[in-house]
């Protein structure tokens, strides 16, 4: 219990402080520092799991963190720390280059980011599906102000869609949770439980029709939040209208939360019936999402929406990994995607800020304007698209190999084609941004510092691709 | 059904029925108007004013438009005749006016008799050739078109459930397949009451006191009638009010626990009291609500139809 409190101390204190500190420049540095401190704290709390001494830590009934969960907490905190470090630069640059944001808005931004971090951390601590639902809905509510940051018509529209679509989607996940609970009450468990660890143990005795219904609703509900194909409409809007650090967090950590919900629900149904037909739906939806996203990527006109659709594509891959029942691959895909995509959103944020437009047709000649940024953008987009030495390539490779083992031949072929299409699409779009004549009104502020965090992230995904031994997983 | 042979029973029944047919309709209207007046902080006309009005009208000389044909003069008679016939058929009080088995109170017969009365009223309104009669008739027919399905469905779902289209059997107080179907009775009652508000040209659909051409519906149709002709039309309308309110009240009465209503006297009192209390309720509505805009009326009638659909669903499922 004490450790649980400890995990939330730093963000809650920082959230409070950022509302009261007058100078937002100080707040920005404080928040970044606090996030890195939080990362250190998280590592120290979760050390027994990370070193392999224990498989799970139980904080309270319904709050158990397992190996996968603890890796995800680390990733989330890392992403937020990177985004906040960059945010400090980003808002300073905005003050120099363009119209500075109001102090009150920045204060709210920093406070909300800390609440958002707490909500996301608690998602991975949940063993109870009920708490999980509450935590995921909390991430929606706490990230809505981040999307509405710009306070203009487009931001308003994006926020409204985000809030309504996700709330309704998540409501259906709640329905699924209710069904799973009802299934548990018609089993050996008697009075019923929502704790995944208990559900898995007595999975065979659960009322299967109810469980199946519950799982399908959870998949659709959390799938809406994760942006799987027919339910993704809110995602490009929200990701493109939020300010760059917020987009990075939405894409790099929020999506993982929703996918973690699908993963939790899927562990129960696979424990009940390993070859349940309903479970095949997951892999199919994942593959469909990849295919659909690759088509959207080709015909993009907006830099940030391009990355948003690339996120949808990666979500499809992660859902596919869940559909194969492979937790490690799910995490590795999430890890590589988060690192590369955060880097991309941050560097794109700089480019958009300097050029004053998000339109792909008006962005060109980055190499001439700012070689550092061009390099970072090129490397990061290669990493996201899944070029060989990077981590994404390795996970995609093992994912496809594994899917052949599960006899998903058609899906594997579809994904293969879609990945190739989106690879070409992303490279073509970034190529146009990087090459060509430079823009005369391109305002670069502190070029090297701006590229620092993105470069760091790209380097780490490269390291993962080179160092991690995929065969052993 | 066997024909009742107890003469005393028949006399008691028929006598009470006749008395309530003569007294209740104008009295209901009187009470309604009085209550409305009290709500508006007026003293209002005496309760028996409708009787006096009718007496006054019957003494007056009649003025008939020179364009009017015989239809205009005969329509109120037909209207009144149909209403009197309906009062025997519709189980609007808990009394059986005529012994069972002599005539079947088929629900479709009742609905088409109501239609017949409306048909002649509308013809008479068109007959004089005045603009008011014309638009009143057109509005009346539009409303009837919308509200008739609701009435039909409400009655039909009771009939479907009871397995007969004879309303005197549906509404009888003997044990039938409808006994204890409180939900069905209640919803059907709500549906019938909402549609009666429209049928009787009461407030949300039509303002019975207005003479403004923008808002009149029923009043516009009988604007040309005078003296005895008007009196007949009014009596017909009064009876219709009592009949339809009585019919909806009978539905609500079936929601009450049956042991309360096993007694003949209790049923008679409850029926009379029910009609009067519905009249009071209408007075309350008319004091609080305003007349709906003509274009909003379908929305209101939709609620009656929805009630009918609900009760139909229940009739089919339970």
């Amino acid at each position: 219990m004490n450790e649980l409190g400890l995990l939330f101390t730093i963000p809650s204190l920082t959230a409070l402080l950022s509302l009261f500190i007058k100078k937002t420049a100080i707040t920005g540095k404080l928040c970044a520092l606090a996030a890195w401190l939080q990362l250190a704290l998280v590592i120290s709390v979760l050390l027994p799991i990370l070193t392999g001494h224990s498989t799970s830590i139980s904080f309270a009934p319904g709050l158990i963190v397992d190996k996968l969960g603890s890796y995800f907490i680390l990733l989330t905190t890392f992403v937020v720390a990177c985004a906040l470090t960059h945010a400090d630069y980003f808002f300073q640059a905005q003050a120099v280059i363009g119209e500075p944001y109001k102090d009150s808005r920045l204060k709210l931004f920093y406070a909300v980011v800390n609440i958002f971090l707490m909500a996301m951390t608690s998602v991975f601590l949940c063993d109870s599906l009920g708490y999980l639902w509450i935590a995921i809905e909390a991430t929606t509510l706490s990230s809505a102000p981040l999307v509405y940051f710009e306070r203009n018509k487009h931001a308003l529209e994006a926020t409204w869609k985000y809030l309504i679509v996700c709330s309704v989607g998540i409501a259906f996940a709640l329905l699924g949770t209710v069904f799973i609970f009802a299934a548990s009450q018609r089993s050996d468990l008697g009075s019923g439980t929502l704790n995944v660890s208990e559900l898995i143990v007595s999975a065979k005795t659960l009322s299967f029709p109810l469980l199946r219904l519950g799982f399908i609703f959870c998949l659709l509900g959390y799938g809406t939040k994760a942006g799987i194909f027919p339910l993704h409409s809110w995602l490009p809007d929200a990701h493109s209208e939020a300010p760059a650090p917020a987009s990075a967090m939405l894409s790099g950590s929020l999506l993982n939360c929703a996918l973690f919900g699908i993963w939790k629900a899927s562990t129960v149904i696979t424990a009940a019936k390993p070859e349940a037909p309903a479970f095949h739906l997951v892999a199919v939806m994942g593959a469909l999402t990849v295919v659909a996203a690759s088509i959207f990527i080709i015909r993009q006109h907006n830099l940030k929406r391009l990355w948003a659709y690339s996120s949808i594509e990666n979500v499809g891959l992660m859902v596919f990994a869940i559909g194969l029942g492979s937790g490690p691959l799910f995490f590795l895909q999430a890890l590589n995607h988060s690192l590369a995509k955060v880097s991309l959103f941050l560097i794109s944020g700089n480019i958009v800020q300097a050029a004053g437009t998000k339109k792909l047709s008006k962005l060109h000649g980055l190499l001439e304007n700012s070689p550092f940024w061009a390099g970072a953008l090129a490397l990061a987009s290669l990493a996201v698209a899944g070029a060989p030495p990077f981590g994404s390539f390795m996970t995609e490779m093992s994912l496809l190999t594994l899917s052949l083992g599960h006899k998903y031949y058609i899906l594997a072929a579809l994904i293969n084609v879609a990945l190739a299409v989106s690879f070409l699409g992303i490279l073509a779009h970034t190529g146009k941004v990087i090459f060509g004549a430079g823009k005369p009104d391109f305002k670069v502020f502190s070029e090297r510092r701006a590229a620092l965090v993105p470069m760091l992230l790209v380097a780490s995904t490269l390291a993962i691709g080179l160092l991690v031994n995929y065969e052993s997983r | 059904m066997s024909i009742e042979t107890n003469t005393g029973e028949i006399l008691k029944n028929s006598g009470t029925f006749l008395a309530s047919l003569i007294i209740l309709p104008p009295l209901t209207i009187g009470i309604l108007r009085k209550t409305k007046a009290r709500f508006q902080n007026r003293i209002g006309a005496p309760l028996l004013q409708p009787f006096f009005d009718l007496a006054k009208l019957l003494q007056k000389n009649e003025t008939v438009s020179e364009h009017a044909s015989w239809l205009f003069r005969i329509a109120p008679c037909i209207n009144l005749t149909v209403m009197l016939l309906l009062s025997l058929l519709i189980p609007w009080t808990s009394l059986t006016a005529i012994p069972h088995g002599i005539i079947s109170a088929d629900l479709f017969l009742i609905i088409y008799l109501l239609g017949l009365a409306r048909f002649f009223t509308v013809l008479a309104a068109l007959d004089t050739g005045s603009a008011f009669g014309g638009f009143g008739a057109s509005r009346e027919v539009t409303l009837a078109l919308l509200v008739e399905p609701a009435v039909m469905l409400c009655l039909a779902c009771l009939g479907v459930r009871a397995g007969t289209s004879d309303l005197s059997q549906v509404f009888s107080y003997e044990a039938t397949r409808l006994t204890g179907q409180y939900g069905l009775w209640f919803l059907a009652g709500c549906g019938l009451f909402l549609s009666s508000l429209v049928e009787l040209s009461r407030m949300p659909a039509d303002d019975p006191t207005t003479h403004l051409e923008l808002t009149m519906v029923h009043e516009a149709m009988i604007l040309e009638n005078s003296a005895a002709n008007l009196a007949l039309a009014e009596i017909g309308h009064y009876i219709k009010v009592a009949l339809l309110l009585g019919l909806s009240w009978q539905c609500f009465m079936h929601c009450l626990p049956s042991h309360l209503l096993s007694d003949w006297t209790a049923r008679a009192i409850a029926s009379t009291g029910g009609i009067i209390s519905l009249a009071l309720f209408i007075a309350l509505i008319e004091s609080l609500a305003v007349k709906l805009r003509w274009t909003k009326l379908p929305e209101f009638i939709a609620y009656a139809v929805a009630m009918a659909i609900f009760s139909y669903l229940i009739a089919l499922s339970v």
Partner: protein, 218 residues
């Protein structure tokens, strides 16, 4: 077969829910929502009475406080401040959508008797509880699909949430209390955030017609 109190209350809440669809006057919508939720509260209390689960009373009281008393009043206040009265030009005319809702009630009756595992736990063999819950879900979805005003969207979400709550109450012996309370808090915060957003939509667009929010597309 007679309707038991449980079934009657469940049906009442479903019917009151469907009546929300019947008008485009937002104030009337809100009062129907209030009564509809009140019926659900009564049902919760009744189930608490049958099953002797004391925590259901607490949940019922909390729902009463938040969803019957606070949220409709808050939305009424938002409505007044934003100066919107009715939801003009719904995609499907209100009467028609109400009749659709009534038909969906019939459909949910058929569905809930076909889908295995949906017979309620409190009433032997009766699936009217899940019928009502499913019909309320459909009502909420209809409300969100056929209406254009932002406030109706919020209301639709609330109705959907009520349907899910009814599922939880009728299909289980009560969800864990902490979960119920957390859920209620989320709804409360969600409604307040979207209420505030609604102000801003009114301020920047001068209408609250969400079907006209189509600037963002590919």
């Amino acid at each position: 077969m007679q309707l038991s109190t449980f079934e009657a209350l469940a049906m009442l809440s479903a019917v009151l829910g469907i009546l929300i669809l019947g008008t485009t006057l937002l104030r009337t919508n809100l009062s129907f929502y209030r009564f509809h939720t009140l019926a659900i509260v009564a049902l919760t209390v009744w189930i608490g009475h049958i099953t002797k689960e004391a925590h259901l009373y607490i949940v019922a009281a909390a729902v009463l406080l938040v969803k019957v008393l606070f949220i409709p009043s808050f939305l009424g206040w938002v409505m007044k401040k934003a100066e919107v009265g009715s939801d003009k030009q719904a995609f499907i005319a209100a009467p028609l959508s109400m009749h659709l809702g009534a038909i969906m009630l019939g459909v949910s009756y058929l569905l809930s008797s076909r889908i295995p595992g949906l017979e309620g736990v409190h009433q032997e063999g009766s699936h009217l509880g899940s019928t009502a819950a499913m019909s309320i879900l459909f009502t909420g979805v209809l409300l969100m699909l056929t209406r254009r005003a932002a406030l109706s969207q919020i209301l639709g979400f609330l109705v959907i949430e009520n349907g899910i709550y009814l599922f939880a109450v009728t299909q289980t012996h009560g969800m864990p209390m902490l979960v119920e309370m957390g859920l209620l808090l989320e709804v409360l915060v969600g409604v307040m955030i979207s209420g505030l957003l609604l102000f801003n939509i009114k301020k920047s667009f001068e209408h609250i017609d969400v079907s006209q929010l189509t600037d963002l597309k590919d």
